[in-house]
Amino acid sequence: MDIHIHFTTEPIVIPPAHLPSREIGAALEFHGIVRELENGRALSGLFYEAHEPMARRRLEQHLAEIDALHPCAEVHFIHRLGWVPVGEASLYIRVLSAHRGEGLALLAAVVDRLKQDVPIWKLADPPKPAQ
């Protein structure tokens, strides 16, 4: 599986889609969007931070494990960092696969693992400057 992982502090720009073969039957895209209400509190946005090299390595490891269970052809993973206003995407994932089953399973699994294991955090407020 071709894996592309990207972190950006700018609004997410969806990379152009090229089908890597004539055997791709399913393209799935997921946009995770910042919502106004988080734990009952009305927000204007969220601040994201990451341990970027470790997050990349964890994602690569998880994607390789999930791909072994649900083989897919290509995955693009883009996570925005810094301040993300309500209504904008903090996360974009695109999965190309021969059949929809593998693509849906990989997409669901990678978001689950992201939220359990990958060192990325959302904060209601930007961090205070530390020493």
């Binding site: 470790m54 060192p119 955090w121």
Partner: protein, 98 residues
């Protein structure tokens, strides 16, 4: 004899080369852990047989490590595992990406 000789050779090495007593490790904190520890990054002296817990206890004895995970050189590890040759110790509070 074959199994004995290498062990014999190893024990001839000067102790200071195989177990240097002074190393440096950079501690990184993130999200809530940055507030707990009061710094984003700090480099401290340590030994290869230190564990993340012993290092953190030296620099922040009052801080609780409960609910925090730890990573050495970008891999999760145990709070009580020896740091070995790791150069970076990251303190990982519960993650919330996505």
């Amino acid at each position: 004899m074959e199994t004995f000789l290498p062990l014999a050779r190893q024990s001839n090495r000067p102790h200071v080369f195989t177990q240097p007593i002074t190393l440096e490790i950079t501690i990184l904190t993130f999200a809530q852990a940055r507030e707990t520890f009061g710094f984003a990054s700090r480099t401290v002296a340590c030994a290869a047989d230190d564990s993340p817990r012993t290092i953190l206890c030296r620099i922040a004895p009052e801080a609780s490590l409960e609910h925090l995970r730890v990573a050495l050189d970008h891999e999760y590890t145990d709070w009580d595992a020896p740091i070995g040759a790791a150069r970076e110790l990251a303190i990982i509070p519960p993650v919330s990406g996505g």
